[in-house]
Amino acid sequence: MANLKVPVGPADHTLSDEHAPVTLVEYGDYQCPHCGRAHPVVKALRKHFGRQLRFVYRHFPLTQIHPMAEPAAEAAEFAGANGHFWEMHNAIFENQPSLSLPLLAELAQALGLPSEDLLSALESREFLPAIKEDFLGGVRSGVNGTPTFFINGYRYEGLNEFEDLVEAIDAELLSAKTQHRRAG
């Protein structure tokens, strides 16, 4: 019931090697404090595992309790359309406590993207369909809150702490190696 139903594809925002033996998918909400806390953990995981770990971020904004989550996700997509998804993604999480429209405009400006372009993209809701698609894919995969992680397509049920995630990813690396050896 809780495996990833939408495989990682070209529409996804990914970091690191597509041939990495382990892929970590996060369904996140930019205004969710638990996601804010998970952000540095993911960074540390990427540093720890290097090219062995591919990271994918998908949007799961709970708009009714987090009114800034969706505009923030749209701002990240807007930056992404201009080749700066991850810079915006990081900047949003790093400034989560002061999330607001002026802040998003400021962050866009800092990336060299005209804030008026961002505001008009927010107004026309240009990037909303992509976000909804992430969200619904998440729902179908049994995402019930944020952050939800999938490791190689399997839902991760443990704590969102560095050590716990390292352990789960290590286990997956080990089984990937065994399978590789068997295949070879």
């Binding site: 019931m1 809780a2 969710c32 638990h34 709970l62 309790i65 179908r140 019930n144 809150g145 944020t146």
Partner: protein, 170 residues
């Protein structure tokens, strides 16, 4: 875990408060699918609480013309405050007096705790349980099971319609 009512069982009817001065009966919703979601309590302390999630997914449920009802033993004033705080756009029913009476008829009451299970029911247009699921009480069951059930219900209805030779203009 309680043993909840299984698919094929007629859904026990009930009339419960939906606001401090308004009541709702299950039979009033005949003719459309109903998602009945029993949950332990308002004010769960996590983001992505079960009711908040269903709130986000309402447009999907509406595609199946399904009515979503949350139900717990909380009183209607408590529900009103919770719904307002969470901006919930679907009814929360109070199984408050006698406490848990409706939950008991669905096998979804936890005697030892005095509140409802996290039990989900999809009820078809004729008032028969089409799908049910009971989640461990600490685990938000998400919505994938409900959506799958609504999809299956729709397919069943369509294939049934075809059997009866009714033609659908496309």
């Amino acid at each position: 875990m309680a043993r909840i009512l299984a698919p094929g069982t007629p859904a026990p009817d009930f009339t419960l408060s939906v606001t401090p001065d308004q009541k709702l009966s299950l039979r009033d919703l005949r003719g459309q699918p109903v998602v009945l979601a029993f949950y332990p309590a308002d004010w769960s302390p996590v983001c992505g609480d079960q009711m908040a999630l269903y709130n986000e997914i309402l447009p999907e449920f509406q595609k199946y013309k399904a009515e979503v009802l949350g139900i717990s033993v909380d009183g209607s004033w408590c529900h009103a405050a919770f719904a307002e705080a969470q901006h919930l756009h679907f009814p929360l029913l109070s199984d408050f007096e006698p406490k848990g009476a409706v939950a008991k008829t669905y096998g979804a009451y936890r005697e030892q705790d005095g509140f409802c299970e996290r039990a989900l029911f999809v009820i078809d247009e004729k008032g028969v349980i089409f799908w049910s699921y009971c989640s461990p009480v600490a685990v938000n069951p998400g919505a994938d099971g409900i959506l799958e059930a609504l999809e299956n219900l729709k397919e069943k209805r369509q294939s049934h319609g075809e059997l009866e030779g009714s033609r659908r203009a496309s």
